[in-house]
Subunit: 204 residues, 2 copies
């Protein structure tokens, strides 16, 4: 395999290293040439597997959407409910910050990649399903469409603000002292749709 000419597993290695670099320095300073140098291959080697720089980012986004969909599906099958799906969303963002950033930055991606489109659609399906199951959980849902947007937006907002460091730089994070981001997510997203449904009561 890894005999000096054939790297053996270049495709995987590129994706891993790309995720590392993007996590640390953002997608804009991500460079194919320096990445190839890190891996000890020529700067055109990744091109064979991904076609272009954009192809690497596409592949990262596909990986991300697939993992996000799988996580949300597992959570739903475990009966987690809306709030835990939201927490899972934020957990994914913090576990895979590079993937998350690329997934939601369409200017970095192809808009005609079928594999990407399929992965995205699957993830969005899980997402929408998770939030629209709210009514079954006892929340008073009158405006379903608004509930879907609100549910997605609040966890996406927390994930985005946290990943970009704006929760820290704004000083808001200090209000929570050492509280974990997932706990913050639970407390904040829990404010949606009124009080958490209490087994002992019906709808307000």
């Amino acid at each position: 395999m890894a005999n000096g000419y054939h790297h053996g597993n270049l495709r995987t290695a590129v994706l891993e290293r790309a995720a590392e670099v993007i996590e640390q320095e953002g997608p804009y300073s991500f460079s194919l040439r320096s990445l190839a140098a890190d891996l000890g291959v020529s700067h055109t080697a990744p091109r064979h597997h991904f076609g272009s720089r954009e192809g690497v980012l596409n592949a990262l986004a596909v990986e991300g959407f697939q993992e996000l969909a799988a996580r949300l599906r597992a959570d739903r099958e475990a009966g987690g409910g809306f709030l835990e799906a939201g927490v899972e969303y934020v957990r994914f963002a913090t576990d895979r910050p590079a993937h998350f950033q690329v997934m939601f930055a369409p200017t970095l991606l192809s808009d005609d990649d079928e594999e990407l489109e399929a992965a995205r659609a699957a993830a969005f399906g899980e997402l929408q399903g998770g939030v629209s199951a709210l009514a079954e959980e006892g929340y008073p849902v009158e405006d379903g469409a608004a509930a879907v947007v609100a549910g997605w937006a609040i966890v996406h907002g927390i994930a985005t603000l946290a990943l970009t460091g704006n929760l820290d730089s704004s000083g808001i994070r200090r209000l929570f002292e050492d509280t974990d981001l997932l706990t913050i997510t639970r407390r904040s997203a829990g404010l949606l749709f009124g009080r958490r449904p209490d087994p002992s009561e019906g709808r307000s």
Copy 2:
């Protein structure tokens, strides 16, 4: 002024053109050289005003934070309340999409620019003040810190998802037919903190 050598108002022209380009193609493909060519100046001319490419983005972010702070302040002084402040946040994001993107992408900015830091702090101050005035509006606020995060996150999430086109590509936008994004924001953010306080009732 504009006599062929001295541009006359290059600084302003660069910022305007940069905002246009970033709005259309994102911050990644924003290039000083093509921008300078568009304006008919040499590619090093902007450097005199901004120092570097990063300097241009810093200046955009400063502009953005100042305008956002001014909008939120005006809204607060007009007695708009939390919900209208949130709508204003989203309106700003759609009015100045390039500024908004750059403002919340710290990997594109200097982390030691005093002017930027001041503008950011002022805007975040307005933001936090707006959300934490919730209690005065009759909302039942038990967890103040969580309320601040929830309020910011939901409007930031809506703005981000809308700007990146993910509200459309997810199909969620279709649930609203032709509804305006600001109306969607009102309906979605209105779900926070329970029902909108009704003048005829106290807290739940």
